[in-house]
Amino acid sequence: MLDTAAIALLTAPFTGVVAAVSVPAPVVVLLLAATAVGVWAAMMWLRIKAGRRRLQIKTDVLRGRTRTLENILAVSARINATRNLSELATKVTTAVEEVTGFRRVVLYLWSHTTKAFEARAFAGIAQEEQATLSGAQIMPSDYDELSREECRYSNCYLLDPAGLWGDAGYCLDLMPNSRKWQAGQRLIAPLASSTGDVIGYLDLAEPASGMVPDPASIRQLEFLTRQATTAIESADVYDHLARKNADLSAASEKLNSLADMKKNFVANVSHELRTPLTSISAYTELLQKNLGTLAPESLDEFLKVIHDESLKLTGIINDILDLSQMENNRPSMKPVDTDLVALAKHLEDSWKSRARKMDIRFTLEATAENIQLSLDPLLIQQMLTHLVGNAFKFTPDGGEVRVGLQETGTAVCLTVQDTGIGIPADKLGDIFESFYQVDSSTTRRHNGQGVGLAICKDIVVHHDGRIWAENVQPQGTRITVLLPRRPAVLQPADPVSLTSLPFEAGEFVQRLMHWVSESLGIQVATLMVPDPGGDHLTIRAAIGLPDSVVQSARVRKGAGFAGRVWESGETLLLNDLTSERRFGRELNEPRYSTPSLLCVPLMDGDELVGIISVNNKVDGTALDTDDQVFLESLAPRLTGLLARYESWQDGARDFEAIRDTLRSTTAVGHMRHESLLEICQEICLASARKAMLPGDELEHLAFSLQFYDVGLDTVPAQVLGKPGRLNAEERRHVEKHVDAGLGILESLELNAKVRQLILHHHENFDGTGYPVGLAGEAIPLGSRLIRLADTLSSLLSHRPWRPAMGLDEAMNVIRGGIGREFCPRMAEVFLAETEDRRRRIVDLQAKEGSSADLNRLALDRGAPELAGV
């Protein structure tokens, strides 16, 4: 009726006109009333139609997003399955082109050799241009030009060479929803590793839509670049492993070379035998022919030559027989754990008796009672016999021969020293020259030395050791042999097997440790984890340690190497334990056979989930910073694998299930008051920027805001939709949604920080929240902001147990919760940002109100613990 009256009033000026054409007044009133009803009906119809269209648009958008999300998940799975770097680079560019709709995509990757970014893959770029781009090197300074802060758009950079938009920064919330893409513009998407290093970037241009991508598309792009970064880093690690494998095959080839030596043996040995034989036979022939006519001096001379050459021949034949005997017994070297001291003592008696006969003093000294080493005892015995025999041979009566065995940090040092004639300085390097040289034209001889020293050198080389000779004052020679500690032959690591594991309990972790030890080439690797009480570390898996140690080891925080790492959260690399006084005691433990140790914490956010400790490098060298960098780069992956293993243990959750959940979650999630939710997210991000949250954390927050409550899907609908307060059990259901959400997101290889943000988004500032009960500043800043945004969007929306609140009422509720649920500092910033958007919120609420029915149909959610307010 009011409407009718108003229309009557409004149309009053026309009444006179109508009256003037002499139509009766009641008719005019009736006519006007009918018109008013018609107008009202039309307006209602239009509103309903508009509502439907909005719904249709929303549904379309949702379908589109779901498709995109599925696409992204499929693409990341594809990317993550690729290990070859160039193939991977191509896949990444194709994926980016496919998902983001950019027509020109160039992937630049950092090259460690040229210290510059180089174009590695293209999409939508003509061949000639590809060649030009490939040739160019983008220096770090060039990249800095591309990534100027004023061009920042989320975590990407929007370059606008024409300067069409002025120099305003393009932040997520400042960015207008739609802008036309201008020719010459470029979008730079950095590939930043978890440590913040930029390993490459994508150079994008010409979006198919002709528009600057909106924040949601940018987030999709950034999600994709994160996946690509992980995959590229994996490919790098794989590369490293492949190289390690190559090293290992080289090592096994070396073992096989003994067989090759044998092949060349006959050809080479014949020459060594024939040389003295030639002299013997020629002089004998001469003697036979000229016996009667020879002068006595000549006869003496000839006989001496024959005798000397015969001795030489005997020596060579003995060496060869010894060797061939060994060769017949084994096809290749077989290292076994041997006590070198016992081996030497075993030979000592024969040396001593020989020394007595020759009136030579003989001593055998060892720095330890036993020196364990992995070696071939027969070969080493052969070497010892020859070296000591040689020393006796060249030492005149009354001289001295000393054999020493000494442990150094990474090797065992064997010396044989005599007081003999010494070796001419220019021959010192030649005496070990290989007897087995394949090149027949080589011009070498083993005059006087026989072939023994060359054989010795071969034996030493096959133990990865070194041998050299030096003359000592006042006279004599010292031969030194360094034998590194080494284990049995390593089997090449197979990184592929890790991904296709049968998930037998324990086996997974054990194989993980094998993988680590083989990648690093170390003998002892230990994975320690905090026990449930959190006050001790126990060994979860170990390589190269006796079971008794594994079962009994318990390390307190702050004690031992691992305990110190636990306390500090930082890597510990000790190159020389002997010089580290504070660790002196632990050195006595037999498992530290080399005085070098590397201990890396596995951190999941701020939480320590384990410690990997390695020592005893296979080649006897000390662990160095290269090893540290490698193990540290593996650490996040190991943490992820461990976490995944735990979740697999909890129950089978396959990728399909996760994807389905995500799909339904996002579909439903977007149906609720999209605009209000978005504006709350915008407030949240704006507050974060005001609070000076650094760029990467902003990005984590933006990502978390999208997914923080996917876990609500695991809460039964009747609990979520229940009007009124929840009982204790229902409340527990709701509280579990945080963990459940993280479980669902597991497959996305979430950044640890994102997981932290999501994990703690229901913590209260006073410590009464869930799931952990963190309080105050201990709650991540982003989580505190998500808490505020979640509450605000919930309060402003209709709930089954209460109607939507007005903005002032909602803000009052938040004010009332400051210090209890909310962080005072963040709440202040958040409320100020909310106030700035009052107009838009009020408008939106008015619109939402008209589609209240729709809201009621949607699966509703929010902050149920605030249901009472």
Partner: protein, 129 residues
């Protein structure tokens, strides 16, 4: 034969080289010794031998390369090179032959046989002139 043929014995093994020198001298040859390939090339120019007794495994320059150098010089094309080696495998024989040696004998050798072969080869050479 107006003058004694000249023999250059190239071998780094002292006993062998001494013995060979004595043997050839006894047979009436003029003899010089060289102890490696470089030494041999120097003496080729000053001594101008008719026959070179060439060892193969020698320091500095081995017998194969030395023979090749000799054959590269046209003024030595008439010189007879007798390879004498403890390496008697087919590959070494072939390499020595390719380098231009006229005869290959393996060590240990019978002195009388070596002398007979050398003398026979010198005869053939003078007949063909």
């Amino acid at each position: 034969m107006n003058e004694s043929p000249r023999v250059l014995v190239v071998d780094d093994e002292k006993p062998i080289s001494t013995l060979l020198a004595q043997m050839f001298e006894q047979e009436g040859y003029e003899v010089a010794n060289a102890f490696d390939g470089i030494d041999c090339m120097n003496k080729m120019a000053t001594f101008r031998p008719d026959v070179v007794i060439m060892d193969i495994m020698m320091p500095k320059l081995d017998g194969v390369d030395t023979t090749r150098l000799i054959r590269r010089n046209r003024s030595y094309s008439e010189t007879i090179v007798v390879a004498l080696s403890a390496r008697s495998d087919e590959e070494t024989r072939q390499r020595m032959k390719d380098a231009g040696a006229n005869l290959f004998m393996k060590k240990p050798f019978v002195i009388a046989k070596l002398l007979a072969r050398v003398s026979r080869m010198l005869e053939i050479r003078s007949e063909s002139h």
